[in-house]
Subunit: 492 residues, 2 copies
């Protein structure tokens, strides 16, 4: 049998770490806080990338590539951004190693190859990009600039976890430049909606769309829009953010344009990003004690065929059937794998594909050959059925949508049943402790209260939801006036 | 009118640099030696990526992602590799900045945040990957490992040029592990052939396939296979390399497997890569004094439609025609753009799309509306024809293959007419100086002779071609025995 995971009920965090490694998604590397994304995990990330990339292009964006390094004088130009990232950035100071004279075969940094100016490994690219946009923008005709880049970034996080928080991670970062404030806000909101749709339609994760409180904003942003998802353990996870940056970066890098009326104006900016963190959100939204559960749209293989046989002759017959099925599956656009390895037993394979979240599994044995049937198993609810061989392809095709929808609805039920309105701080603490999830509570709008609640409960304001009834009330902590509920939760 | 380039005949190098910038492919950045790849250039690179990625997957490879940083003790483990890259690598020594107490608003490296061990920004990933493979490989059942990664790498080159030689560049690097020497050699040769096919079929660049001389091998390789292309100025460009690494990295990182017979054996390795340098090869193979010439397979837009009008009413009518054409083009899988901007004149647009190498251009004016015609221009040979509107889509579809083939054949003619057999060193120098190109000459096989020829002529051995008649002869410099001709050239 394959490796058994620690049950979620026993230790959610341990379950998560084991699942990531055992399902061959990622592992820790020799570099502190940096992960290796293994082929199976990367194949899922590639599917996310290609779907997102299509959505970006459909909304008028183009890809480009900007340098990995940010010279220090550019890094520090936008003060709040610099302040926000200075404490966790990797710094290149030298450009050469030399042989260690005291230690044969070893290398040391060559002190003569010290850089005149340090280079920061990008934690985010506003600084390097806006120093570039300065040369791209002269007139209103040059606007808007709608650019995205797929890249690696580095943030020297002290406590790291595979996918959720790593020193290096992969992401996309959109950086747009606009002639007007209204257009930039529209862009930031639109991209937050693109993320929300992607989460719902592809990740099968329901998300709450909203804005961050001032203290949770991106460093350098005027407004941060976000999508927040709820994990199975009742903790929230920020799945994507989109920032209206105002004219902060345009002013820091002196980026002006000549308007139609001939006036010099500062440019308005947005930036927006999602990262390999989404892999963590995906895992913690759908998976179970048997392992990963993948939405069909993201599964590298949507169906795997496992032969059950004793004799070579049986395998030959099963292979013939499997090859016909594979052809039919491929014609219907279904990603299929036939695992006829003789190095592993069927039981091991079943457990392995369960662990790796393959949405459906077909087993074919000698009796099936006689009867013209196959056994079809479904990963999400672990159900099995025997089905006529000539019906199985259509059934699997139908199951792809069925499973995708079912995962979404299950996650939505969970989110709804774990969103609790509370009106007193006692209730707040009780719900947070006993049930977790989102807590919809009134807040007086001050940073002190937010900070105080965080200290007392570890819960933070995840977002000020876009969709909510106007409702006057009193702050759950201070009893001061509040104009609407915000969502609190403990968060990843 | 758009900007005019310096003619190639006048200054090839200046022509190249101007073209890259004016055609919106790339530009220098604020970071020494690092470039910004602009959206139009990146769109071409994306097409290269997606075609290569498909070829890698069809040959059984999977993508993964490994860390950007290499801890120094891993970097130095394989001695030759370390020696080869130590002199040009960016080194991270600190992980934090702090406020400069002497200079408000400025940041300095925090001396308290010095890393215990320096991190090298990967110049290539053998070291980090083989330290990972050690944990992935126990038994022959774990082999082969066929993995590729798309990544950025950094080599601190002193003299840089857009695309051709930059401190940071984008590439893919395949890293495979095998049970036997024969299988690893087969893999290295196969991937070199994949590169050659890609160059021929997609880039429309004929390449010479062969092996490098020992002194030109990748640091750490036992054998380096390569594809070499010839640029219009008679200089060669190494377009891709594939390395048989023997057991060098397996030994450096102690990677062994248990064979079927139960014996412990070191693993055999390959690595192979192509980079954004291919953009340089593409430009210098096909382009002309008017600008970029793109093979249709790589063109972000394969046809652009430009309206010619005086009155809004005319534009409306042309737009109607253009929209019908666009629909037909899209149905046939042709990438089409309709440039109806009123901020630029038709003449400016014509020059711009010539500069950017769009393979075909359709102009529609009031007279065309009357006659039911359009003007169709072809970028590669700058020819024009008037054609019936209902024939233009099929004509453009046919032109895509015609242009792709024509570019290849033209480049092949050039390569063949610029490959010269020489038998004396006088002739060698004369051909190199007056004509350039590949010089097929006998060489005695020693590094001294290779080095001496380089000193005397700046030409190096580009490759020992796979395809050549066995022919005994005498070294062009030393008169010593030679068993076949090798290709010399000056190179990028």
């Amino acid at each position: 049998m394959s490796k058994k995971l620690t049950p979620r009920s026993q230790d959610y965090s341990k379950w998560y770490n084991q699942l990531v490694v055992e399902a061959d998604l990622a592992e820790n590397s020799a570099v502190r806080g940096s992960m290796v994304i293994k082929p199976y995990g990367y194949a899922i990330w590639e599917k996310m990338q290609s779907d997102l990339d299509r959505r970006f292009k459909e909304t008028g964006h183009e890809n480009a590539y900007f340098p990995l390094f940010v010279p220090k004088h550019l890094f520090e130009a936008e003060e709040k951004n610099a302040e926000g990232f200075a404490k966790e950035c990797a710094v290149v100071t030298h450009y050469r190693l030399k042989n260690d004279p005291d230690n044969q075969g070893k290398l040391i940094v060559d002190p003569e190859a010290k850089l005149e100016e340090e280079l920061i490994v990008r934690p985010t690219s506003e600084a390097i990009i806006w120093s570039t946009y300065k040369n791209w923008i002269q007139s209103y005709r040059d606007l808007p600039i709608l650019v995205n880049q797929w890249a690696n970034v580095v943030r020297w996080e002290m406590r790291t976890r595979l996918f959720l928080r790593t020193a290096e991670f992969l992401w996309q970062e959109g950086h747009t430049a606009h002639a007007t404030k209204a257009e930039a806000i529209e862009e930031a909101e639109k991209m937050n909606e693109v993320y929300a749709e992607f989460a719902r339609e592809v990740l099968a994760i329901p998300v709450i769309k909203g804005r961050k409180s001032p203290s949770e904003r991106f460093a350098g942003a005027v407004e941060t829009y976000c999508i927040e998802a709820l994990m199975q353990d009742g903790k929230a996870l920020q799945a994507g953010t989109s920032h209206f940056l105002g004219q902060n970066f345009a002013k820091a890098f002196d980026v002006k344009y000549t308007s139609k009326e001939g006036k010099q104006e500062y440019v308005w900016a947005t930036s927006w990003g999602v990262s390999t963190r989404l892999m963590g959100a995906l895992i913690m939204s759908h998976s179970d004690d048997q392992g990963l559960v993948l939405p069909p749209k993201l599964a590298p293989y949507q169906v795997v065929i496992v032969p059950i046989y004793r004799k070579q002759e049986q395998l030959d017959q099963i292979t013939e059937v499997a090859e016909e099925l594979m052809k039919e599956f491929r014609d219907k656009g279904i990603r299929v794998k036939f695992d006829h390895r003789d190095t592993h037993k069927p039981g091991w394979k079943f457990a392995q594909y369960e662990l790796q979240g393959v949405p459906t599994r077909i087993a074919i044995g000698p009796k099936d050959l006689e009867k013209g049937t196959v056994e079809l198993a479904r990963r999400d609810n672990l159900s099995k059925e025997f089905i006529q061989r000539n019906e199985v392809v259509d059934r699997v095709v139908a199951l792809m949508d069925e499973i995708q929808d079912s995962l979404y609805n299950k996650a939505l039920d969970f989110q709804e049943s774990h969103t609790t309105k509370v009106d007193t701080f006692e209730e707040f603490k009780e719900v947070l402790e006993k049930k977790g999830g989102f807590i919809a509570a009134h807040w007086d709008g001050t940073e002190e209260t937010e900070q105080k609640i965080k200290e007392l409960t570890k819960a933070t304001i995840r977002c000020i939801p876009d969709k909510q009834e106007k409702e006057a009330g009193k702050c759950v902590l201070t009893n001061s006036k509040s104009e609407g509920r915000v969502l609190f939760a403990k968060a990843y």
